[in-house]
């Protein structure tokens, strides 16, 4: 079922990055280290995009998440005092959150396993296909009247609103 070839090795490596990074984020006591672990986790996600033949999304992941959002998170972390020695790792709701986490995990497992290996499933591991939509198709679809041109424009409006909102909030003290 599980062949040992380059793709599965890559998958395991990226899975280690994603999960290890995520684990590091929540267990470390140093906020800056947590940000670096987050960056590692995002790298793992970018790697998955490459394995799924979506290199454009991988590059976007690195460009936007790591290049912009992670930097902003670091800036925000700098505003926190005593960020290198967080005092509390666990709060008092750990039991409830643990239950919710396990329930979500079971839900995800069922959602992934059932369509493929369930009773009506396809029973085949779908390999990465050679025939995938390319970035050019994405570009055409974005401005196609029958496809995604409206979300394209709405996205632009959303970005404008985000920028205006951010400026209003961040410059509040200068009135």
């Amino acid at each position: 079922m599980l062949e040992f070839n380059a793709q599965s090795v890559a998958f395991i490596v990226f899975a280690l990055f994603s999960l290890g990074g995520a684990l590091g984020v929540v267990t470390t006591r140093n906020l800056i280290h947590a940000t670096l672990y987050l960056i590692l986790s995002l790298f793992g996600a970018a790697g998955f995009f490459v394995l799924l033949s979506a290199p454009f999304l991988a590059a976007v992941q690195i460009l936007v998440y790591i290049g912009a959002i992670a930097i902003l998170i670091v800036f925000a972390v700098m505003l926190t005092r005593s960020m290198t020695r967080l005092r509390e790792l666990y709060n008092r709701q750990w039991l409830l959150s643990g239950v919710v986490g396990v329930a979500l995990f079971l839900l995800l497992m069922i959602g992934v396993i059932l369509p493929v290996w369930g009773i009506n499933g396809s029973h085949v591991g779908k390999p990465v296909s050679d025939v995938v939509t390319t970035t050019v198709d994405l570009g055409i679809a974005l401005v196609d009247q029958n496809q995604y041109v409206l979300p394209f424009e709405v996205a632009s409006l959303l970005l404008t609103a985000a920028m205006i909102g951010a400026i209003v909030i961040a410059r509040d003290d200068r009135e």
């Binding site: 380059a6 793709q7 890559a10 490459v50 394995l51 033949s53 290199p55 454009f56 976007v60 460009l63 936007v64 290049g67 912009a68 959002i69 930097i71 902003l72 800036f75 925000a76 700098m78 505003l79 005092r81 990465v128 050679d130 970035t135 050019v136 198709d137 994405l138 570009g139 055409i140 974005l142 401005v143 009247q145 041109v149 394209f152 424009e153 996205a155 632009s156 409006l157 970005l159 404008t160 985000a162 920028m163 205006i164 951010a166 400026i167 961040a170 410059r171 003290d173 200068r174």
Partner: protein, 120 residues
């Protein structure tokens, strides 16, 4: 699968690229003298003793530049497939792109007028 071969090259590159600077640094650790004392390891502050904690007054302007950059970054991400497919688009595609860019240019003008682009 030839496509993934290219990415395999990148993957190997990622793994090796950190080795190239790491080896000389390791070599430096072996070759260089290592006699630390407290004066040498003191933080540099223009030749005098450090005053105060290592915590700088964080100007909010840095964050605003980061925010504006992020908005433009996402805009660019949307524009890349548009530009890539541009040869196959017609004037409707041009106007869709124009509208997209116009909204964001509008946001830039807003930031400009509200003095969000000034380095205070």
């Amino acid at each position: 699968m030839a496509v993934l071969n290219e990415w395999a090259f990148i993957g190997v590159f990622f793994s090796i690229a950190w080795l190239f600077p790491f080896l000389p640094i390791l070599g430096a650790r072996l070759l260089a003298p290592h006699k630390p004392n407290s004066i040498k390891q003191a933080t540099y502050e223009c030749g005098v003793e450090t005053v105060g904690d290592t915590w700088v007054q964080f100007k909010v302007q840095y964050y605003i530049y980061g925010l504006i950059f992020m908005v433009f970054d996402v805009e660019i991400v949307f524009l890349f497939p548009w530009a890539l497919a541009y040869k196959q688009l017609d004037f409707f595609g041009f106007f869709a792109g124009l509208l997209f860019v116009f909204f964001l240019f509008d946001a830039l003008v807003y930031a400009w007028r509200k003095d969000a682009l000034e380095w205070v």
